[in-house]
Amino acid sequence: MRVPVNRSESANAASPTPQTKIQVKDLAVAYGSFRAVAEVNLEIPETAITAIIGPSGCGKSTLLRTFNRMTDLVAGARVTGEVTLDGADIYAPTVDVVDVRRRVGMVFQRPNPFPKSIFDNVAYGPRLYGVSRRAALAEIVEHSLRKAALWDEVRDKLHTSAPALSGGQQQRLCIARALAVEPEVILMDEPCSALDPIATLKIEDLMRSLAVTYTIVIVTHNMQQAARVSDITAMMMLGEDRKTGTIIEVGDTKSIFTGPKDKRTEDYVTGRFG
């Protein structure tokens, strides 16, 4: 399989000594007595794109959702181990979960715009944090939509319904909505799985341009996508018991796709498994 990794190389060259933004130590998530993921250790570098790949059901989304404590919302879910953001444990009892979620934004598998206008979708976050002046909101909305490469398409219809946009536009709107609260990290949970190839390409271009200022973590089971956009790739898989997922190999994307050390990674990325 031919793997286009040249863009990743250029991105790597732009940030030769990446700082660790999120560090995961010995993380485990259990739903009741069921251990979904365990023994996860991972370092996510700042202003880069980290892809988590692996077969369906191996706990990729579960792992991603520990980074902004969305796992808190699942009744019976228990997180052990440590996730630090800029060195501070986000599961420490003194930490305000609202603050974590403002700093670590999220984009979901299916575009999920609120059934409101485009403007109100983007302004939702800033309004939560107390921005109420119309002019200030308008500025944030324009800025966020520009960053999400959607402004030119919607500038004339900001007050029309967001769910009327196309799927790809909706997903970019969701990215703009996440950007509007000025996060530092953006988590993307298979953001293109509901989109056509052209819309997918737009989102991938957008991710590359966002990675200049933001730390991005993307979960995907599309290996070509991981190869195209990411700088770092983490390979996740079910362990020996076939129930609990863990990360079996991490490396820069090129080496994962061209010279994986783990036999299971090799089988997966070459299409012999999964």
């Binding site: 974590v100 999920n112 609120f114 059934p115 939702y124």
Partner: protein, 314 residues
């Protein structure tokens, strides 16, 4: 081998024929039963239109009843009373119904959530005459007089289960991903419920409210012991009189809510028992007006639900 195959083909051809016959038979039976089930509806609607249509005229909607023996007169008092009672019932039933539904939809498996759903089901099964008696014991007896207020409260108890259950179902239709999107932006639960989930379900909720109002507007029994009836009730007169007499808002509300009122079903019930042909004819006309009112509310609500479902899919 080939013999076996042709034999099985023969069997299957016979089987196919039998299947077609059974199918046709079943289809005719279900079709017939459907017609049978629909017949009473059209019969009732047609009969009420035929009997009631004759007595309908403008005066019927704009005048109070005339004394027996005099021709003409209308049921303005009952129309106004019905609207007033529906308004009061909505004011009493909608806020608690909405909040209960929000809770039940969000926490379906907690003890309180289960209890809420159970209580709603039980309440919707309580005979309406019992609810009337409840209103009598709770409001009429202590106050010492029948009133629109007591009637509205009794109708509210009829409305609450409909509002709560429809709202709950509509809230459950709101995709979980919308709630997640809001929470992931750092919004607290209550804010998410109020500013994302509730607006997303708004049309469906309004539908539930309309259905509730339609249900309450058609009830007679709860009003027998509460609103009682009042042939001289005229809300417009009370309002204009109050404005001309420069009465305070408290006084106006007092005159509107603290005296007995009539409603369409109540009037129908009373007129139909009287031995005078003009009253009987008017009862039919009241039935027609009531039916149209409830039908319009119902159809509006259902059209609303349908467009809503289309929008959610689209």
């Amino acid at each position: 081998m080939s013999v076996v195959r042709s034999a099985s083909l023969l069997v299957s051809a016979a089987y196919q024929r039998r299947r077609r016959v059974v199918n046709a038979g079943m289809l005719s039976i279900t079709g017939l039963l459907t017609l049978l089930a629909l017949a009473p509806l059209f019969w009732i609607v047609g009969y009420v239109i035929a009997r009631g249509g004759r007595s309908l005229n403008l005066a019927f909607f704009t005048q109070l009843p005339r004394p027996l023996g005099m021709d003409g007169g209308g049921v303005l008092h009952a129309i106004e009373g019905t609207l007033l009672l529906a308004l009061l019932a909505s004011a009493f039933a909608i806020p608690p119904g909405l909040l209960a539904a929000l809770y039940a939809a969000r926490h379906p498996n907690t003890p309180l959530g289960v209890a809420l759903r159970f209580a709603t089901d039980v309440l919707s099964g309580v005979p309406s005459i019992v609810i009337g008696l409840f209103g009598y014991a709770l409001i009429v007896r202590p106050q010492g007089h029948f009133s629109a207020l007591a009637g509205g409260a009794a109708l509210a108890l009829i409305m609450v289960p409909t509002v709560t259950r429809t709202t709950e179902e509509m809230l459950k239709l709101v995709p979980h991903s919308l709630r997640e999107a809001s929470l992931a932006l750092g919004a607290p639960e209550w804010k998410t419920s109020l500013s994302v989930v509730l607006p997303a379900a708004l049309n469906g909720i309004l539908t539930g409210v309309l259905l509730g109002i339609a249900r309450a507007a058609g009830e007679t029994a709860p009003l027998l012991f509460t609103a009682l009836g009042n042939e001289r009730f005229e809300a417009v007169q009370i309002l204009t009189g109050a404005i001309q007499g420069r009465q305070g808002i408290g006084q106006i509300l007092n005159r509107l809510f603290e005296q007995p009122v009539d409603s369409l079903p109540l009037t129908l019930w009373k007129y139909a028992q009287q031995p005078y042909p003009e009253r009987i004819n008017q009862a039919w006309a009241v039935a027609l007006v009531l039916m149209i009112l409830v039908l319009v509310l119902n159809i509006t609500a259902r059209v609303w639900i349908a467009t809503r479902a289309r929008r959610l899919r689209g």
